[in-house]
């Protein structure tokens, strides 16, 4: 078995939730009360997600449910060994880690869209934006989509508000199970771990600045603090800032928090969060990384101009820029660090998220086939089903609802 195939097999054996939603009704697993993914038989499904072993497992699971699956990922988010193994398994793959030139990147995305998908799983709304801006021909067959990330749901919500979203799209990122298991625990853990892998620093006693205290920022702050760091959070929202304060973190504007930071994380999902004035405030040897993230969250262009040239590569995924006589260490070129410099979110987190994605697709092809164009939430019962399956996989049991409690709820 190749290294890519072995890692896919490793992940597949550790994704019980996705396996359970794919198993048809009658499965003994608690919570497996659906009819599997039968509505997906013979559907053409396009997946545009970071190409790691868990995405490969989703592709294989959908294929096994009878769908025709094609997979795409941007160059920086492509694991070539996994891409090769997936192609070897008969899945159409449009992803290469060396396809960094703009023309090559667009050609791969267009290759995915040329498969005339019925359904589309998107990440960062990259494929859906291309469909709406340039490839409107795809709308002739495309019946629905689902979006994986916070940074993708945001522009789709704007598009929907303007009445320009041409198909129904399920905001999987808004699902509660996704927020809890993936954005908070998964992304937080894997982004902190990826920075430690790349840099080798000991977090104990270090000062860490975290920009943004949404689910990802909260997870990053929690995991950094868990490993001994002193965390300072910067937030524009007073409620989130208050939450950070009461969670035990300091709260300060980013340019001030940066002055003493050994490590600065951007977790806002907003471009140019880490501006040049923030970078100038950092001490010598400070690390800068992005968790979650959108393109340009660190203003790398301004940094490069101010540093007067190319950075010095120090290690894999670590570049040193010289700014005002100090060295700043940018991790993974300012790309989302767990995807670019590690294997993405932990398998258990992706198990939940991709089970939600599979149910979203089955819903779009089944009960939700009549949904109007626009952005829709994932039905709450599907969200709860995934949470129940995850609990069952861990051997945890829910308190059964009592008759009184049911009545209280029904009468409310």
């Amino acid at each position: 078995m190749s290294g890519g195939a072995a890692r896919i097999a490793w992940a597949r054996a550790r994704m019980p939730v996705l396996a359970a939603v794919a198993s048809p009704g009658g499965s003994a697993a608690p919570g497996a009360d659906g009819d599997g993914l039968s509505t997906l038989a013979d559907r053409r499904i396009a997946i545009s997600l970071p190409l790691d072993p868990t995405t490969a497992v989703l592709a294989l699971t959908l294929r096994d449910a009878g769908a025709q699956v094609a997979v795409h990922a941007p160059a920086a988010e492509t694991d070539d060994a996994v891409a090769d193994a997936l192609a070897h398994a008969g899945i159409a793959v449009f992803a290469r880690s060396d396809a960094t030139a703009p023309a090559a990147a667009v050609a791969l995305l267009d290759g995915l869209l040329d498969t005339r998908p019925d359904l589309l799983v998107d990440d960062g709304a990259h494929a859906l934006r291309r469909v709406h801006d340039v490839r409107r021909d795809v709308l002739a067959t495309l019946r629905g989509g689902s979006e994986q990330t916070t940074s993708g749901v945001r522009p789709l919500r704007e598009l929907a508000a303007a009445g320009e979203l041409a198909i129904p799209v399920l905001a999987v990122d808004d699902a509660r199970t996704k927020r809890i298991a993936d954005n908070g625990h998964g992304t937080g853990q894997s982004c902190v771990a990826a920075v430690l892998d790349v840099s080798g620093i000991l977090l104990g006693g270090k000062a860490v600045a975290v920009a943004g205290y949404g689910p990802v920022g909260r997870g990053v702050a929690r995991h950094a603090a868990a490993l001994g760091a002193r965390v300072t959070v910067s937030e524009i929202d007073p409620h989130r800032a208050l939450e950070a304060l009461l969670d035990g973190h300091a709260v300060a504007p980013l340019a001030r928090a940066a002055q003493t930071a050994d490590l600065l994380f951007s977790a806002t999902g907003i471009a140019r969060t880490v501006r040049l004035d923030v970078l100038r405030a950092l001490p010598d040897g400070a690390l800068v990384a992005v968790a979650g993230g959108v393109a340009g969250e660190v203003d790398v262009g301004a940094l490069r101009a101010a540093a007067g040239g190319s950075p010095q590569p120090l290690a894999r995924d670590l570049d040193a820029y010289r700014l005002d006589g100090r060295r700043l260490l940018l991790v993974a070129g300012g790309e989302c660090v767990n995807v670019a410099a590690a294997e993405g979110n932990p398998i258990e987190a992706m198990d939940c998220s991709l089970a939600l994605q599979a149910l979203a697709l089955a819903h779009l092809a089944g009960d939700g086939a009549g949904l109007a164009p626009g952005l829709h939430p994932l039905p709450a019962e599907l969200d709860a089903r995934v949470a129940r399956l995850r609990l069952a996989a861990a051997g945890a049991e829910l308190e059964p609802r009592s008759a009184t409690e049911r009545m209280a709820r029904d009468w409310r």
Binding site: Q189, L196, I201, H223, D284, G285, L287, A320, R326, E348
Partner: protein
């Protein structure tokens, strides 16, 4: 590696200490791989005039087998008990019980073990049942890191003082390993593969805690054998000499070893087991405290 300033203590405090020439012309052996921070230690010793040798050293930083007779002094990274065997021939400085060494393992062992586990498996500790075998400095540090990352810790410890410490720290403690552990980390206590729960993911934090296993490679760095997934085929993630720790922590530990070597080279110690004097421990702690952060390093550089 900390790419900017990997070993500020070896390059600072130790280099300054060795400038008195005590090591000039002495034959010195270093156990272990000469990579990472230990390569810096070797360079600092060589710059101080020491001749680094593999055969018949006068002075050595262990662990070393008893056959290395003729030693005039040994630095033992492990415990005093480990050093006693050597004590008949020459002075031995034991680092294992040094306050700074204990601090190093307390602060850095848990993060290093958890980090290796996450990197090699891409799994999560959140919500998982994790058994920690043994509750010394390493076991306590591992238990703390696992719990902080959402794991449910179960400490296996027979020794009453250590078991009490684990219980007072809020961990579930028992003398035997139960069947519900999904991940088992052998720290101060060893385990036989057969007594580990079927299907468990098993890691060894310290050498000699798991027997070597043969099996098929499940993923890079993981061997599937006898129904268990074993990290690194049972080889340890850490060593008492500082392997596997973050470079910053290894820097402090190796500086301590180098300072001990300096004392032996100065010829003041009699045959027997010695600890480092408290002032020396404090000088290493003070240097570490001052060079700990990126900000602290800035002032000297500019």
């Amino acid at each position: 590696m900390d790419p900017i300033d990997p070993c500020p203590l070896l390059d600072g405090l130790l280099r300054e200490t060795l400038a008195d020439g005590a090591l000039a012309g002495r034959r010195v052996a270093l156990a272990g791989e000469l990579d990472g921070p230990r390569a810096t230690l070797a360079a600092v010793l060589a710059d101080a005039g020491a001749e680094l040798v593999e055969e018949r050293p006068e002075l050595a930083i262990g662990p070393f087998a008893r056959e290395q007779y003729g030693l005039r002094g040994l630095v033992e990274p492990g415990t005093v008990m480990g050093a006693v065997a050597h004590a008949l021939d020459a002075p031995v400085v034991a680092i294992g019980c040094s306050p700074v060494a204990r601090l190093v393992f307390s602060a850095a062992a848990g993060p290093a073990v958890v980090q290796a586990l996450l990197r090699l498996t891409n799994l999560s500790l959140a919500g998982r049942c994790v058994a920690v075998l043994g509750y010394g400095d390493v076991g306590a540090s591992v238990a703390r890191s696992v719990r902080a990352l959402g794991g449910h810790v179960h400490v296996v410890e027979e020794e009453p003082l250590c078991a009490l410490a684990a219980a007072l720290d809020g961990h579930r403690v028992s003398e035997e390993l139960g069947p519900d552990a999904e991940i088992v980390i052998a720290c101060e206590r060893a385990a036989a593969i057969a007594e580990l729960p079927a299907g468990a993911l098993v890691a060894s934090a310290l050498p000699g805690r798991l027997p070597p296993v043969l099996g098929v490679v499940a993923r890079d760095g993981i061997v599937h054998a006898a129904g268990r997934d074993v990290l690194g085929g049972g080889s340890a993630l850490l060593s008492p000499a500082g392997d596997g720790l973050a470079p910053e922590a290894a820097d402090a530990l190796l500086t301590l070893q180098g300072m001990a070597l300096h004392r032996l080279a100065s010829g003041e110690l009699e045959t027997g087991v010695h600890r480092l004097p408290h002032e020396l421990e404090e000088s290493v702690a003070q240097a570490w405290l001052e060079r700990r952060t990126a900000g602290a390093r800035t002032s000297e550089r500019l």
